[in-house]
């Protein structure tokens, strides 16, 4: 890629920052070249974030209806999934899966709540709360 062909499409995700690429100058020599956004990256980043948003809103709806625990909403809200939440708490996957059900979640011990809160960056008491909107 030539230096003057480095895309500068001001990606909103970069919030005014640039990332660094290496590109060739007029003499064909590689040189560091900042890039403040590129269509391809922006599309796939939006897509990945939209997927988490979709999962979180879905979980929010089910939690409001009492079909899922509020933990599931917070898991997706923090861009995690079952595997990642199990890894970051150190719990077995089957136990996390069980805690995603509303009944099991309400019976959770204080210590387990703390571990979930820790992994999700929330206070144990916040795990029960759903925001007004997903």
């Amino acid at each position: 890629m030539k230096k003057d062909e480095v895309p500068q499409q001001n990606a909103k995700a970069f919030m005014g920052h640039s990332k660094l690429l290496y590109a060739v100058d007029e003499q064909g020599r590689y040189t560091p070249a900042p890039c403040n956004g590129w269509e391809a990256e922006e599309i796939v980043l939006d897509q990945a974030i939209a997927e988490y948003v979709r999962l979180a809103s879905d979980a929010w709806r089910r939690a409001t209806a009492g079909e899922a625990s509020t933990l599931e909403y917070h898991m997706f809200k923090q861009r995690m999934d079952l595997v990642l939440l199990a890894q970051s708490t150190g719990f077995f996957k089957w136990r996390v899966r069980r805690d995603l059900r509303p009944g099991a979640f309400q019976k959770l011990s204080g210590r387990r709540r703390e571990r979930y809160g820790d992994a999700l960056g929330l206070l144990p008491s916040q795990l029960d709360i759903l925001p007004e909107q997903p």
Binding site: F14, L21, Y22, A23, A40, V44, Q47, R79, L84, S88
Partner: protein
């Protein structure tokens, strides 16, 4: 108490394409060995390709364009004869105390963190990836002063957030890893180190006898894309988007590190006095451009700005694999 206490180690921040090669090259420069990021990447043999279907992220397989985390620091320091002090901690508070002690002793240190909990990262760039690397060069009140190689400016992070980022659990858990060069070599042999790095990378890309590694891995992924079931378009779009993110966004300076490596080859051409490496760098640039076109086409197809065409994407990857293979073969013969 001494509320305005500040420790600060003068540190030259240089933005990099990739966090690990960026941190280690700037730490070595800080300690008196002038080395560029591409050189650090090439010598450590950081380039790679692997399709790892058994490692899932958000239900999607891992596509890696480089060797695993930690490889660049270990490979570079080993080949240059730099001794590294590397320390992990069981207790988060102990990790924070050790960081403070190093700063108080006037030492800038590299640390491994999760990218998600770093408060200075733009929110849309925050994902759970545990092997981010950065340099801490000071502390002012409750804020750590940070030279993060992928960010264009110097940044700060609140102490609590940094401790959380250093002690996340799970895959590649950083365990508070803290590192710095403890002994620098008197006369590092860059020529021999570059040669060894090239031999390793070319061997790895061409001769590992499993179909998911190196250029064979690229071809395998191409065949998988060609065979995607058009009825599963929603899933296919997530998969393609994921591939493009791994290639362009997850810690890369573009085209899955191919431009970074081409830049290394240009430097190596001078270092080893082999102009032919410069020509190979140009060809790798062309292959990198093809990777970028693949990324752009795949992204546009995901967004509906282009008609979905799995065959076209597969052809592009086959083209990349063929181009890289011939480059690595000649490169290996050149330095052998």
């Amino acid at each position: 108490m001494n509320a305005a206490a500040a420790t600060l180690v003068p540190f030259d921040h240089q933005q990099s394409a990739h966090c690990e090669s960026g941190v280690i090259s700037s730490l070595l420069r800080h300690n008196g060995l002038d080395i560029s990021e591409p050189m650090a990447f090439g010598i450590s043999a950081g380039l790679g390709y692997a399709y790892l279907p058994f490692l899932k992220f958000g239900g999607l397989p891992l596509f890696a364009y480089r060797m695993p985390p930690g490889w660049i620091i270990r490979g570079l320091t080993k080949r240059l004869g730099v001794e590294m002090h590397m320390q992990t901690f069981r207790e988060p508070a102990e990790g924070t105390r050790a960081l403070d002690r190093n700063l108080a002793a006037g030492r800038a240190v590299g640390i491994q963190t999760s990218a998600y909990w770093l408060s200075y990262f733009p929110p849309d760039m925050r994902f759970h990836f545990n092997a981010h690397n950065l340099v801490v060069y000071g502390k002012r009140d409750d804020q750590y002063l940070i030279s993060d190689p992928v960010i264009d400016i110097l940044v700060e992070c609140e102490a609590g957030a940094l401790q959380k980022a250093r002690f996340t659990r799970g895959v590649l858990a950083p365990k508070g890893l803290l590192y710095y060069p403890s002994r620098m070599p008197a006369k590092p042999d860059l020529r021999s180190a570059a040669r060894k790095g090239i031999l390793f990378t070319t061997g790895m890309m061409m001769h590992v006898p499993v179909p998911i590694i190196g250029t064979r891995g690229v071809r395998l992924v191409a065949r998988k894309i060609r065979k995607l079931d058009p009825r599963q378009e929603a899933h296919n779009k997530l998969l393609l988007g994921h591939i493009v993110r791994m290639q362009e966004e997850i810690g890369t300076g573009g085209a899955g590190f191919r431009f970074l490596y081409a830049s290394f080859l240009q430097e190596a051409a001078v270092l080893l006095d082999k102009p032919s490496l410069g020509a190979l760098a140009d060809r790798l640039t062309d292959v990198g451009d093809e990777w970028r076109r693949f990324a752009l086409h795949a992204a546009k197809m995901c967004k509906g700005r282009m008609d979905m065409d799995y065959g076209m994407l597969a052809d592009q990857l086959m083209h990349c694999a063929a181009g890289e293979e011939s480059i690595y073969r000649e490169l290996r013969a050149e330095v052998k």
